[in-house]
């Protein structure tokens, strides 16, 4: 494979993994927040 292709592949895989981690974390945090708010509301 050529230099530009391997270089692009390296940068792409790096940022796909980082973005995936960010979205997974954000989604889990939002779900936890919602669940906590629901439980708090029900208890009031």
């Amino acid at each position: 494979m050529t230099h530009p292709l391997l270089l692009s592949l390296a940068y792409a895989s790096c940022f796909i993994l980082l973005t995936g981690l960010l979205f997974k974390t954000y989604k889990k945090r939002r779900e936890a927040q919602k669940k906590f708010e629901n439980v708090s509301k029900k208890l009031k």
Binding site: L7, L21, L22, K28, R29, A32, L43
Partner: protein, 246 residues
């Protein structure tokens, strides 16, 4: 410092820090990438493929640093039995595993260009692969023993035992003859890399570090929220309600 070891204070502080860290991370990535891809020169030997360094090296640095952080937090949890230290160690594991994967993937692609092979059973590459296995083992153990009281102890132990691999990774290129190059950024005689390459490297390293902190705070906050939710449910004996317990 110990003031923020209180979970409530930690939660409130991270609430303020996350947006600031997020924006700073984005800025560092934007500036770092500009310097790495457009501003820094090509290497006289490796040509354009040297640009792999700007993601490979920071990912490799932080893959080991995160494990050291996990072991330190595990040590703190062992000595002072602080639950927040356990949470921080456990939530750092996935980020460490991702960084190690990035270091291995980019290293493998760089290896193809520099050595003509994607993988060689070289001491450095093998010890980093062992680090990835340690992260995977830690995550698997965490997943399989979720709420059991012994889980934290086992995880602390694994992090502390796994720490033995870090000096091996560091020394692998000096103790054995390897295809991987020896330390080439900081040597005993000082910094051995030109400023035009050092600046983008440090900018990208800062971006990786800030990204780690942002994600770590977000993940720890999520765990604290889940703990608070379970505590609320237990308090009201509503754990039997499937709509809430799900």
């Amino acid at each position: 410092m110990t003031r923020f070891a209180n979970p409530k204070k930690f939660y409130n502080l991270s609430q303020k820090l996350i947006p600031i860290l997020g924006i700073t991370t984005l800025l560092f990535f934007a500036i770092g990438l500009y310097f790495a891809l457009f501003h820094s020169p090509a290497d006289y030997q490796q040509g354009e493929s040297v640009r792999m360094m700007y993601i490979h090296v920071p990912a490799a640095w932080f893959s080991t640093l995160i494990f050291v952080f996990m072991a330190t937090m595990s040590g703190v949890a062992f000595v002072w039995r602080h639950p927040l230290a356990d949470l921080l160690a456990q939530e750092a594991a996935l980020i460490g595993a991702i960084y190690t994967s990035i270091a291995l993937i980019t290293g493998s692609l760089w290896g193809k260009l520099a050595w003509g092979a994607y993988w060689v059973w070289d001491a450095r590459l093998t010890s980093v692969l062992i680090l990835l296995f340690l992260y995977i083992a830690y995550l698997a153990l965490k997943q399989s023993m979720q709420d059991k009281p012994i889980a934290s102890k086992m995880l602390r132990l694994l992090a502390l035992i796994g720490l033995l691999n870090i000096p091996i990774i560091k020394g692998s290129v000096q103790w054995w003859t390897t295809l991987h190059q020896p330390p080439s950024i900081i040597r005993s005689l000082g910094i051995s890399i030109h400023m035009s390459m050092l600046i983008p490297l440090l900018l990208m390293a800062a971006a990786f570090g800030l990204f780690f902190l942002t994600i770590l705070l977000m993940r720890t906050q999520t765990r604290l929220l889940n703990i608070k939710t379970i505590a609320l449910l237990k308090k009201q004996d509503q754990l039997d309600d499937p709509s809430l317990a799900a």
